[in-house]
Symmetry: C2
Subunit: 212 residues, 2 copies
């Protein structure tokens, strides 16, 4: 298809597609005339991937470039997969952690039996959030850590299980990135729904009404 | 304390604090001289709240302004709490949903017995993520929705339970906002840890090593 059709099908404006082409996020089409190129289903898929990571995942274009480079390198060895899973969460700015919060997270990791390095970036990320919660007087989160961890473990086990049953091994890395970044947003949206439900139950104990 | 000490204790640069004061995110100190004011523990707490929502939660200053206005209004009625829980996730740009994804989410809500309105913004948010996953060939997420929802429900029930046991009712709204925004980031970090663990188990089945 031509660029205009790629734009129509994907819903991404043509100038934006041209920008992704110039930045190397999207591979060039097959040139048919001096000023014309043809694009295939692979381009459409890549474009959807870029937009999902950008719009929903909240990743920067630079972070997306790194992710796509990992895809193109085709490196799906044992060490690579966990590294890809570490794509940092959007909006998280590195702050100081405190030793107390870090120790709580490391103790949690041991209780869960998770085989992760104490220097794992996600240990620091969790400790940073916990330190901020403690600073804001939410010490109660220390005792709720295991509930959070068990929920996280259930979801992650399901994600890796979904990975195992995928037929196309060449797509494993992409599957993992998509599941990691978008799965996180899905879990967050469902948590907001569940929170709304439980808050309603809390403020009005009568719960006989069936959902619409 | 004076502004310089507030800056030292909080780690927030003085010009930034002055900016928050001008924007009304932080209430003025008690003026002691023409060019001097005193700030108390309430200012320090508010400053920590702003920074946590900004740095960790990834909220914009405008969104934080809305959150703080809700706190100041002191409105903690039954309808207000669920609305506060709806503070949108950072980095989520409104995209089109498709009917298929929306129906999947509404069916999930019914299966979970969640008492939420079909027009709840989080229904749309979840449908948007699901639509993007489907577009990227991750149809398998349809069958994993219940696993995600049960995990979300467990965490949300624990959050509301934590809310019930808080002693200071004047702080309920803040407690909810902090738990909602930061709890989401905590869950995401723990999910990345669990994902790393399960991926390691997948690529190297020998799991005899005890965690460090």
């Amino acid at each position: 298809m031509r660029l205009s059709e790629l734009s129509r099908t994907s819903g991404v404006p043509a100038p934006t597609i041209k920008y992704y082409l110039r930045e190397g996020l999207l591979s060039p089409g097959v040139r048919t005339h001096t000023n014309q190129a043809q694009y295939g289903p692979g381009h459409l898929h890549r474009l959807r991937l870029i937009r999902a990571l950008l719009d929903i995942g909240g990743l920067s274009l630079a972070a997306i470039g790194d992710v796509l480079a990992a895809l193109t390198s085709g490196d799906t060895g044992p060490d690579h997969l966990p590294r890809v899973a570490q794509q940092p969460a959007p909006g998280t700015i590195r702050r100081g952690t405190d030793a107390h919060a870090t120790n709580e997270v490391l103790a949690l990791v041991r209780r869960q039996g998770w085989l992760v390095s104490p220097g794992d970036p996600a240990v620091e990320a969790a400790a940073e959030v916990l330190a901020a919660l403690f600073q804001l007087g939410r010490q109660d989160f220390a005792e709720r850590l295991d509930t959070y961890a068990r929920a996280a473990d259930t979801v992650a086990a399901s994600d890796v299980d979904g990975l195992d049953r995928r037929t196309d091994p060449a797509r494993t890395t992409e599957t993992l990135i998509v599941g990691n970044v978008l799965g996180e947003r899905l879990l967050a949206a469902l948590r907001r729904l569940a929170l709304t439900h439980h808050l309603r139950g809390r403020v009005s104990p009568v719960r006989d009404t069936t959902p619409a």
